[in-house]
């Protein structure tokens, strides 16, 4: 009996460090945010009071929240499929036998290694109207200067381009690993059957990559909702909120306006969206994924 208790204690002690970290940095903040979202924001002279769901009701009246939600949806649609497709294409290419493929792999992966803020500043220079790289190139063809980040119609796509450039290399690594675990015998069998390259890709490679695709997809969507550094450096959500993404808006409400109650409510909504999306993807796609 004492031995069993000792084992129990031992087990719990082993779990303790991880559990403490998890509670302190994940569960407690999440619960606290939920709790705060039901209260008004305390100001110097006015303490917080319980307001129920008022903060959530306020969202429906908040045009910037609705727009940032819309922007985020566009952002997901614009970056996720494109970066996954690019990642796959790049992986297929550098997986083949070709000269200097290590250099190529490194080149594709570099954007992922660079710090986000540095990357954003470099792109900021590319996009600078009149003096930036992009305008200097278009200027050679006699096109007028364009304010890429200052125009409502190009600001969000400009940010998307940076994200795709950054993410594709990262996802490529996953695809590359998956491709190398596909047994070469399948290729040989297909050759014997006389299957073309496209058929082989469509019927063999792609289905075998589905677990990776699912993983990458979930990550890509979470990343698209988590993006905030590029927005802060490059546009600060402007012009007229054209590039305000959800997390950036939460940052603004929380740390510029110090409306912590409302920011907590927005955070809860973001969390709910991510949970729903993740569950949906797993339930729906899991059935289509071929695991070995």
């Amino acid at each position: 009996m004492p031995l069993r208790i000792a084992t129990q204690v031992h087990g719990w002690l082993l779990l303790l460090p991880a559990a403490v970290l998890l509670v302190a940095f994940t569960h407690y903040p999440a619960m606290a945010a939920l709790w705060n979202s039901l209260h008004s924001t305390p100001r110097g002279s006015r303490p917080a009071r319980f307001v129920g769901l008022d903060q959530y009701a306020a969202m429906a009246q908040d045009p910037i929240f609705l727009q940032s939600l819309m922007n985020n949806a566009l952002f997901v649609l614009g970056t996720v499929p494109l970066s996954i497709a690019l990642a796959l294409a790049m992986a297929l290419w550098v997986n083949g036998r070709l000269r200097g493929r290590t250099a190529l792999r490194v080149a594709y992966f570099t954007p992922t290694v660079l710090p986000m803020i540095a990357v954003a500043n470099i792109w900021l220079f590319f996009y600078t109207p009149g003096y930036g790289l992009l305008d200097q190139i278009t200027g050679l063809f006699g096109l007028p200067a364009h304010n890429w980040l200052g125009d409502r119609s190009t600001a969000l796509p400009a940010l998307m381009a940076v994200t795709v450039w950054k993410e594709a290399g990262f996802f490529m690594i996953f695809y590359l690993a998956a491709l190398q675990s596909i047994p070469p015998t399948l290729r040989e069998a297909a050759d014997l059957e006389g299957a073309g390259r496209w058929t082989f890709f469509r019927r063999v490679t792609f289905p075998l990559l589905m677990p990776t695709t699912l993983f990458v997809l979930v990550n890509a969507i979470i990343n698209a909702f988590r993006l905030v550094d590029h927005v802060i450096v490059m546009t600060r959500g402007g012009p007229d909120n054209a590039t305000a993404l959800l997390l950036f808006y939460i940052y603004e409400v929380g740390f510029r306006y110090w409306d912590t109650g409302y920011a907590a409510a927005l955070t809860a909504v973001l969390l709910a969206i991510l949970v729903v999306l993740a569950i949906g993807q797993f339930l729906y796609l899991d059935r289509k994924v071929h695991y070995r």
Partner: protein
């Protein structure tokens, strides 16, 4: 670079304090300041602080460069919530209500001890004090204050057949001159814009020049009401939008604040509106003769004041508050206000600074330096309300929507007002 410099100064002063012995333990204060214009501002501030410390061996100041004005208020509020607020900081005069609502700052009236201290609070231009006082108390001391002025390229005026010594005096003249100054190449692409008013970041400030000229206020004195949808405000916005979209003498869309001086140096814009704080920057870098003028008038002349005030924080101990107050007084003596004005182009904040020999010599040598001062009687307080960041953003969003053509000026201002009403409801 600047951070390291700050560290070095701090380390150096710490070493000095140590070598001086523990007998006179120095009062330590940290001092946050932003930089919003071109030029080696951090070096100048570090120099001032070193000088101050030399004259006041009992006080140990750590100057912290804290980014833009926006970054500074964010950093200060974050530090405040974390219990680590600076003791003194330069923050936008318009953030006064926010700082009061957060219960972060002390009024200078509480720190006044002598008659000389009391007189100090009244030493500044009244236009600057509009944003520094509320409820009968003085919450901020003007430091890097400015107004908007117009810079014009005399060579471009000459080439366009205009009198190079005469800047536009009215809105109509501005449009007429800008039309003649706008030049296009063979493909119809503009090589030189007639006039450029920046609209990134804080378009409300430049817009407030137009509304002031149209004789309409954007907010009440208590900071609880805005008048964004007033017809005169809409008219002012229409004028700005028309310059770009109808008359095509102003770059379309959003114009970068940061590159506007460079656009001027490179001849991409013949006239620009920007802060007088850029004066020294323009003087050093413009390769052609340029002029500085008061902004043109519609119903009256006008510009908002702008820039930063000193604030002293409540969390400071009494000794720290006294030390901080000493620093503030030291930084704004007539001689130093004059030197700061000469070093940067900001308006020396008190009338007696303009009577100092250094300033007199500077103005005699370089008359444009006095333009911003002469514009002060026409200047109004910069837009400032409770929840300032948010209420101002509502206007910024509306302006950018109108300038990018997403909304008509009337619609944009209507929406901005609705948003401001929603936010300010709690303060009425």
């Amino acid at each position: 670079m600047t951070v390291r410099k700050g560290w070095m100064t701090a380390a150096l002063t710490a070493a000095l304090a140590l070598s001086a012995g523990a007998a006179d333990a120095a009062t330590k204060i940290s001092f946050y300041y932003p930089v919003a214009v071109g030029g080696p501002i951090t070096k100048i501030i570090d120099g001032y602080v070193a000088e101050f410390e030399k004259e006041n061996p009992g006080i140990d100041v750590e100057p912290v460069y804290s980014g833009s004005y926006q970054d500074t208020i964010t950093k200060v509020l974050t530090a405040l919530k974390g219990g680590d607020a600076p003791q003194v900081a330069v923050i936008l005069s318009t953030d006064m209500y926010t700082l009061i609502d957060e219960d972060a700052v002390v009024p200078f009236d509480d720190l006044v001890k002598t008659d000389a201290d009391k007189a100090f609070l009244d030493a500044f231009y009244p236009a600057f004090m509009e944003n520094s006082r509320t409820g009968g108390k003085t919450w901020g001391i003007p430091f890097q204050r400015s107004t908007i002025v117009a810079y014009w390229n005399k060579d471009a005026f000459r080439e366009a057949g205009l009198d190079p010594e005469a800047a536009p005096q009215t809105w109509d003249e501005l449009l007429a001159m800008a039309t003649r100054l706008t030049r296009r190449d063979g493909n119809g692409n503009v090589t030189q814009w007639g006039v450029q008013i920046p609209s990134s970041g804080f378009p409300y400030w430049l817009f407030q020049a137009l509304t002031t000229q149209n004789d309409v206020r954007l907010m009440n004195e208590a900071g609880t009401e805005t008048y964004y949808n007033d017809p005169a405000v809409v008219e002012a916005l229409q004028y700005w939008v028309d310059l770009a979209n109808t008359h095509k003498v102003h770059p379309p869309g959003i114009v970068e604040w940061g590159t506007t001086p460079k656009d001027f140096f490179e001849g991409k814009a013949a006239m620009v509106w920007t802060t007088t704080g850029n004066l020294t920057n323009v003087r050093k870098n413009a390769p052609f003769p340029f002029g500085v003028a008061m902004l043109p008038e519609k119903k009256r002349r006008g510009s908002p004041t702008g820039g930063g005030n000193f604030y002293i924080f409540k969390s400071a101990t009494p000794e720290q508050r006294d030390a901080a107050f000493k620093l503030v007084q030291w930084m704004t003596t007539p001689e130093r206000a004059a030197r700061w004005g000469i070093d940067t182009g900001y308006v020396a904040v008190r009338p007696d600074a303009w009577e100092t020999p250094a300033m007199k010599a500077y103005v005699a040598d370089f008359p444009p330096a006095a333009v911003a001062r002469d514009q002060l009687p026409h200047a109004w307080a910069e837009l400032s309300t409770h929840e300032n960041q948010r209420v101002t953003k509502a206007l910024n969003d509306g302006l950018q929507a109108a300038l990018t053509g997403a909304k008509t000026p009337a619609q944009a201002m209507e929406d901005a007002q609705k948003e401001a009403d929603r936010i300010l409801k709690a303060y009425r």
